[in-house]
Amino acid sequence: MTLRDLHTLGLLKGPVEGADALLAADSKAESDAPWIARFALGFGAWLAGVFLTGAVVVGFEAIFNSETVLLLLGLIILAGGTALMHFKRGIFAQQLALAWNFAGYFCVMIGTHDLTRDDFLGGLIAAVILCPIIYWLSRNAVQRFLSVAWVWALLMFHCGDARQGVLLFVGILLLVAVVFGGLSGWKSGPFWRPTITSCLIGLFGFLWLISEEWQWVSDSYYSQFRLPAGIVVALGFSGLLWFLTRPSTSVGTTRLVLLGIVLLAVAWVGAPGIAAAVGLMAVAHERRDRWLEWLGILALIWFLIVFYYFLGVPLFEKSLWLMGIGVTLLIVRIFLSRDEPEPMLLADDKPEHDSP
């Protein structure tokens, strides 16, 4: 479906030029600062933020030597960075403001961590309070992304450190709920995009946490969350797909149930991350979102590697599962290809770019 289709069928309100201009403005914002440039800005700011935090800690702690001062100093730097970002344009100002924000966040987190006697809970509470404030005040997608990322990162640290299993599970539930809200169209658009991306990466982070056998906990600690998390992921993504495609007939109920069962089966083996990655790829296809599809593909590759090294399931058993799922998928492929035309000769394929 294209804009021309909408216009021809009389489904647009007003002239097609207005709709085209709106979408062109969105994609212009994207081409003005492509994702790799934003990555450079974010990564550079993170690196600079580490050094600026070092400057604050080394420089000021020697004079004041107090957690409260560090916390207050962090808040002041954070406010300064956010104000700079709000009022100044230009790459250097944005980069400087982002680095300040990093340093401010680091100082607040270290200050609260020290104040609450080496507990990540203090930092988590601070991050939860700061997140909506920074998110609403900032106009920068990277800063918004990071304000959300601080929350799930500290939640993850807190759960790992204090073995708060219930909180860990609640975290996964919340992240799936936010992803559902964002990708169902309820809260989409440029304002919510950083939240959705951040929460998806956070969800994969949580699933990685419970998919490994970590040295600091006993073997059975995280294994108890794999299946419940897998159920949440399987229901979450197949439910989301159902929500997006209802009441269409293009994805029938049978296929959705089948997808749910496959995701659940994969999660059952001890790989909820693979289930989430495949679920995300399906949702991304429905939304025609290349970026999300790539995120899903990268997560899939990562979790396959994690699964290979995962010691909770014997290698022999893993091999049987993988071969079983592989053969099933190939049968599905053969079954579907019966209706497809003959594959074309590769030599006839259109070249991916013009030869120079």
Partner: protein, 345 residues
């Protein structure tokens, strides 16, 4: 005048939701619009594509895991039988399907992977005592003819990966342990030479119509990033670990750093002017910025670790360098998209 391309580009759901939020969709026909959108999604094609790709990957990974698990119940005879049968079956099926057809190509990839597993199982059963690099070198040698015959980019890339793995294992198991032969910087220089050689070969071949099968931006990105990685390790080692090589000749570091500077400079020029590739340009710029920050941090903090000013200096330099990097990337993006528009018009 409307740009035909933008009007005929398939809309994503996000774009449709954006139009809806801005009130540009007819409210009484909203349901019909979203229904038409849902019907326009090609699910059968998507499931077919991914079921084939994932099915193949899972099956091959399963076979790999199976033989890696060294199941005692399975006799060596049966192991070889299954694997040799698999290789033979996949290769014959590829021939029957046609080496220029997609299915035939993928079957040959499967046969190539199974060949590697077969060599590994041979070492496992007979305890040949062979070094791991010999396994990979033999693997690369055995599938070389298939790579030439298939004319399939993923198989060519698989061969490059296997060959590089053989080289790095050869360095780690033979060249470097014999300390008087070469050090790691020399080994990395050799690996970088091999990868850059592959990149140059690829750039030369893919521009010819006869080698259209070799085209694909992902190959360029993978080779550029790998080349830069091998060269950057030499520079990073020099920045952070000079103590380990103080009694060794310093020429590999000088040579590596010079090669690194040349690679970054030529890569930036080539991929922004000659063969526009935003990711390749960005890789050159980001590697340069990151390495400069590492060098500055080492140099400044070495003497003023306990002083806040040194940290502040490095932080400000990092901001400056990455701002410059982002600026160059944005400029390159504009230049590349401008040239693409010019070509289209």
């Amino acid at each position: 005048m409307q740009d035909g391309d933008s009007l005929d580009k398939p809309l994503s759901r996000t774009e449709l939701e954006r139009l809806d939020r801005e009130g540009l969709l007819s409210p009484e026909k909203r349901e019909e619009i979203f229904s038409r959108y849902r019907e326009s999604i090609d699910w059968a094609g998507w499931i077919s594509k991914w079921a084939g790709a994932l099915g193949g990957i899972f099956l091959l990974a399963g076979v790999l895991f199976f033989f890696a698990s060294n199941w005692k119940e399975m006799s060596p005879f049966l192991r070889f039988g299954v694997l040799e049968g698999g290789v033979l079956l996949a290769a014959t099926a590829a021939l029957v399907c046609g080496l220029r057809k997609r299915l035939g190509n993928w079957l040959l990839v499967a046969a190539s992977v199974l060949t590697g597993v077969l060599i590994a199982v041979f070492g496992q059963v007979y305890q040949t005592g062979a070094d791991a690099f010999e396994v990979f070198a033999l693997w690369a040698a055995l599938i070389f003819l298939w790579v030439l015959a298939a004319k399939f980019a993923p198989l060519w890339m698989l061969w490059v990966v296997v060959a590089e793995t053989a080289l790095i294992l050869f360095a780690g198991q033979v060249m470097v342990p014999k300390d008087n032969w070469v050090t790691w910087p020399v080994a990395f220089l050799g690996l970088a030479d091999f990868t850059i050689g592959m990149l140059v070969l690829w750039e030369w071949l893919q521009s010819k119509e006869r080698f259209a099968w070799l085209r694909g931006e992902w190959i360029r990105i993978a080779l550029v990033i790998t080349s830069l990685f091998w060269l950057s390790i030499i520079v990073w080692m020099w920045i952070f670990e000079t103590w380990r090589y103080r009694d060794k000749p310093q020429w590999p570091f000088w040579a590596g750093t010079l090669a690194w500077m040349l690679a970054v400079g030529i890569g930036f020029w080539f991929y922004s002017k000659k063969r526009p590739s935003l990711i390749s340009v960005s890789a050159c710029v980001l590697v340069a910025a990151g390495t400069m920050v590492c060098w500055l941090a080492r140099w400044i903090l070495d003497s003023s670790f306990d002083g806040g000013f040194g940290w502040l200096m490095v932080g400000m330099c990092a901001i400056g360098l990455f701002t410059g990097a982002a600026f160059l990337i944005i400029r390159a993006a504009k230049q590349i998209s401008g040239e693409a528009e010019k070509r289209e018009s």
